[in-house]
Structure formats: structure tokens, C-alpha cells
Symmetry: C2
Subunit: 355 residues, 2 copies
């Protein structure tokens, strides 16, 4: 990447506008936290780790916007802003995780003035973003141990540098394997309806010179059944305590077909994506987005679907843990039983044998 | 339908140009069998039964085009034309089935002159088309026994009137259930890459006033896992002797996920789609179409995928028979063991208990 997906720049939150890729590269800067929330909702920025960093910078921005002279008033303003940011999208838990982390800073006893809090929030957002890059890289190289020279990898949605502050999650594993000199080929699900695979993953792989073919999502099963896929790599938007994975719509289907064909199926996500408060995946809220994402498709300049019809548009699905071979985190590769080993990974106490 | 998908009109083969739907309704007439073959390749007409009828009319047209004065020369011209038509698309067996049926007429001993053969071929093509309509209707009402009032039905690709001469196969079951007064709701897979669901199935259901929602193919699994689908209905392009079903890409994945969730999975196809000469589905040739069908997608007026990348585009996949609950034919509902019962259905001797 030429720059981070999200960072602090010119007194505002700067994002790569992912809705315009691969056709245009634009980097708007937002100076109001409400615009940051809207940018998350509208998918200017998307991808669980990137959403987390965006929320963190958004809350730090809200602190600067606040006119408060005392900590109590600033706290009220921050709580209002956090509520707005928290509602921007429901499924990715990184958003709440990042806001909670910054709110813990806001109440730190060692900070004296409102300006001390403002400065600490900005420092924390920056540190969260820097850590994201570092832990994504570590996670990528953890996962690269699962990739062999010559592998064909099926990949869903976008989980690359654009889905994080930099580097990425599942696609970060591909980048790490590529850096290790392993020759890999990626089958890139185009990922309807938002087409993050066709738009973003194809763009990132092309930039890095990694071999790939774009495929319709419908073709993934055929390639697995006919022995043309060695492993599946996907990201995650939220992982329940038992290892159930909420991720981009279509992931569940891939998981089922992968297991049916003996193809290892890995979810790659930082521990900030793990929500130990939820016992299983059906407790994860699934966002339904605007039906126009399905309806407004064009081909050769013309609308595809008839006018005046309706659509359903769930943006995520839940892959029960029995379809998940392992979950790759920055703290190591987590294998079943997930209930025990995920908690260890989150606490940083994953032992060698559970990896 | 206002008219048949394919018929003989104004001394030529007339087709609804399905590439233009739902935006424009045009009905080109072809006066050269080579143009009919090209129309099949280019998907002006598609759907296994419709392709069969198109090939039949195409061969009858070739007979009229031939300058031959004697039967031997006409036969050579017909064989040349049949070879061209047979290569138009590889997967649907109805194409070969229709051509073989007309070629058997061409060699009938009771025909004396070349013109007798020409007339007999035209009559046979017309009869094949008329039979297609009648048997599709019968098949639809056979299948409607599987549909209950209030059912939500998942449907892939287009298998309606546009996929046949009229009425249709899997969607014909929906039409029959609707005519019986059963309230049904259809989840319509958009069916990338050619989007036959979004273009054609949505158009047909809207015309008939049947309740439906368009969905991205990726969402089908989510709706099945969350108990929102009562049964799946798909067509077939070729069915092997053991019941393996070659059908539009994405069908295999649906079959696997349906079985995983206990959702009945039915393939609806006339017996002309059954190829008893093939022991299993992996012997069925799978067409790979132009990668531009995947690459050239647009959204809001702009190309989605980066320029200069590659794609894979298998047009069909094979669903092994273990995922198929039953195959609905014009001769009844065929249940496992398919090897025995499909042969009986083709011969018209399906017994009540094997239904």
C-alpha cells in the first residue's frame, strides 16, 4: 500500500474511499466524528480491523471537537460520540472493542485536565492503529505455516491491507506466504453483493504481483469438489466464544462445502474480533443492508433486475465452529476445542500444544 | 408468456432474445441454421429444453436451406448442419437428443423425396416443441405435489417459460403450485455470472404476480441454515444414469448446503435431459465460457474489477446424486435408487411405488 487504509492526517481522520476502488484512489479527510460514523455505515471503510481503527480515531476526533473545559463534560460528549460510532455497523465487534479501549483511557485517574484526556485518546488511537499493523503482520506469518509451495487458496471478500490499517488478515496470510517465496495461486470470490473480492482483493493481489483468478461466488464449490483448492482462507467480523464465525455473507456456504470435500477452512482474525461474551454465533447481530446493493447491478450499461421488485440482503452469515479447521490469530493458530483455546488466545496464554 | 420462447415464424426460427431482458423484448428471426447455432452459443436462447427445440428448428431450417434434389445429398447437408448445431453448447444433452430425434426422421423409409424429408423434419420439430410445452406442464403439476401452502422455495438460475418452449421446469413447479392456489414465496438466486435469476426469473415471477425476493447467491446458505427455506428447486442440463445432475454453476453448493440443513433438494427436468449413456456426472462435459462474463460487471456505471486481470468461468457444475432428494420428470417423481428408477422414468415405466 502507498498509505494506510486509515490514519490521522491534517487534523482529521483520513480514509481510502474503498467504494471508488479500483477505478479511483481518493482519500477524504473527516473533521466530524459523525462523518466518520457515516463513512463506516456507507462502507467508505470496511473490514473488521479497519472499522475498529476508524472508530478509535473517530472517538479521538470527538474529544477534540468537544468544547468541554472539564473532564465530566468531556466524558459526556465522548459517551454520546461513542454511542453514535457504536451504531455505525452492528456485526463487527472490533468497533465496540476499540471504543471500549479508548473509553478506558478516558477515565484514567492519572489524567488531570480535559486536554490531558484529549491527548491520551489521540495517542491511544494512534497506538491501536500501529498495533493493528504489527499484529496483522505477525498473524499473517503465523498463518503462512499452513500454506505450502504450489497451493491454490480460495479466498472470500477482502481481508487485505484495505480491511485493516495495513497488511490484512486472511489475505495477509497469502502476502506472508508470498514473501516467504511460496508460489501460491488465489481463487478470488467476487463476493456479491458488494463485490469486495472483484474490486479490492483483485486490486491488492495485482499490485503485489500474486497469481490469481477472479471467480463468481457460485464457482467456488465446483473448484473444491474437483480438487482444485488446497485450503480456504477467510476473515471474521466477530467470533463467538465457541468458535462460531460471523463473516461476510457466503462464508457459511464455503465452510460447509469445504468440510464436505476435506478442504481445510481457516478463519484469520485478531483476538480483538473474538467476543467471549457471546456463547455461540447465533447471538451475533446480522446486519441487513439496503436491498439496492442487490438490485442495482448493471451489465454492459444496463440494469440487470426488473424495476419494482424486492430483495433480501443479509450482509453476514454465521459459520458454526464445526466447519472451522482452525482460527489464526496474532497469538497463534487456535484449534478445537475452541471454547478453551480461544479464551487462551485472547489472554495471550495459548500453549504450544493447543496451537 | 405473450409468445413461445422459440418457434417457427415467417420462414425462420424466431426466438425471444433473452440477453436483452428484462429491459427490452425483441424477437429476432433467423433464416440460416448457422445463425441459430450462434444464437445458442451466444445465449440468445438458453435453458436445456429451449436449446433442444432451437436445435430441432435449426435442423429443419437447414433442410430447407439445402439445395439438394436427392435424399443422399440432403442427408449429407443435414449431417453437416447437425454437427454445427451439436457444437453450439456442450453441456445440455437436450441439444443432441433433439438432433438425434430429427435425424431418425430424416432416414425414415416411408419418405420418398428430399422434399418429403424437408416436410417431415419441419413437422417433427414442431411436434417436439408442442410436446415440450405439454410435458413441461405435466412435469410442473407432478412437482407441485411436493409444494405446500405457505412454502418458501429457493430457486437457482432461470427454469421458467424462457428456459423451455413454454411453461418451464423447476419454475414450472412453482407456477403449477401457484395455479393450485398454494401461497408460495420464492427466494431467487441472482445466479452470477450471467444473472439469469435477476434478469429472467424475477421477470417471469413478476409477470405472474408470484411473491419473491431477489438474493445474492451468497445468501442462499444463510437462509437455509436459519430455517427460512422449505425446499430447493433447480433444473438440469444433463442427468447421468446414476442421478448425478449437471446444472448451472452454483447448484452443487446449494445441494450440499441443503442436505446439511435437511432441506429437500429437487431437480426438475424432462426425461430428454437424462443421458443414460453416462454412468456418472463426472463424464459430463462442463463448458467454460468467456471470462468476460465474470470480469465485465458494472455497478453504478463503472466497471467493478481492475483491468488486465484473469478469471475462471465454468458455466455448470455437477451435483452428485447423494445430495438430490428426487428428480421430477414428466413421467413422475423419481426417487433413489436413481440408477434403476431413472431408466424406468425414461422408458415411461416408472411404477407408483418408485415415485
Amino acid at each position: 500500500m502507498m498509505m494506510r487504509t486509515i490514519d490521522w492526517h491534517a487534523d482529521g481522520v483520513r480514509m481510502i474511499d474503498q467504494r471508488l476502488l479500483p477505478n479511483r484512489f481518493e482519500t477524504p479527510v473527516y473533521h466530524d466524528y459523525r462523518d466518520v460514523a457515516r463513512a463506516i455505515t456507507d462502507m467508505v471503510v470496511r473490514g473488521a480491523p479497519a472499522i475498529g481503527a476508524a472508530a478509535a480515531f473517530g472517538l479521538a476526533l470527538a474529544g477534540r471537537q468537544s468544547q468541554a473545559n472539564d473532564r465530566a463534560q468531556l466524558m459526556r460528549d465522548l459517551e454520546e460520540a461513542a454511542a453514535v460510532l457504536r451504531q455505525a455497523r452492528p456485526t463487527a465487534v472490533n468497533l465496540s472493542w476499540a471504543l471500549d479501549r479508548l473509553m478506558r483511557v478516558a477515565i484514567r485517574a492519572d489524567l488531570e485536565t480535559a486536554d490531558d484526556v484529549r491527548a491520551a485518546l489521540m495517542a491511544e488511537a494512534q497506538q491501536l492503529a500501529d498495533e493493528d499493523v504489527a499484529l496483522n503482520r505477525r498473524m499473517g506469518f503465523n498463518g503462512a505455516a499452513l500454506v505450502e509451495d504450489g497451493d491454490t487458496i480460495l479466498h472470500h471478500c477482502n481481508t487485505g491491507a484495505l480491511a485493516a490499517v495495513d497488511w490484512g488478515t486472511a489475505l495477509g496470510v497469502v502476502f506472508a506466504a508470498h514473501e516467504q517465496g511460496k508460489r501460491v495461486h488465489v481463487l478470488v470470490d467476487e463476493t456479491r453483493p458488494r463485490l469486495q473480492g472483484a474490486r479490492l482483493t483483485a486490486w491488492e493481489l495485482k499490485q503485489r504481483g500474486i497469481s490469481f483468478d477472479l471467480i463468481a461466488d457460485n464457482a467456488a464449490g465446483h473448484f473444491m469438489r474437483t480438487g482444485q483448492v488446497r485450503l480456504c482462507l477467510v476473515g471474521a467480523d466477530r467470533i463467538a466464544a465457541n468458535g462460531d464465525v460471523a463473516n461476510k455473507i457466503g462464508t457459511y456456504t464455503l465452510g460447509v462445502v469445504a468440510r464436505e470435500n476435506g478442504v481445510p477452512f481457516y478463519s484469520v482474525a485478531p483476538t480483538s474480533t473474538v467476543d467471549l461474551s457471546l456463547a455461540h454465533g447465533d447471538l451475533i447481530p446480522i446486519e441487513e443492508r439496503n436491498p439496492n446493493e442487490v438490485l442495482n447491478l448493471q451489465f454492459e450499461g444496463e440494469r440487470v433486475a426488473p424495476e419494482g421488485i424486492t430483495a433480501r440482503n443479509p450482509a453476514f452469515d454465521v459459520t458454526p465452529h464445526r466447519y472451522v479447521t482452525a482460527i489464526v490469530t496474532e497469538n497463534g493458530i487456535v484449534r478445537p476445542p475452541f471454547l478453551k483455546n480461544l479464551a487462551r488466545a485472547v489472554n495471550g496464554s495459548l500453549t504450544a500444544e493447543s496451537r
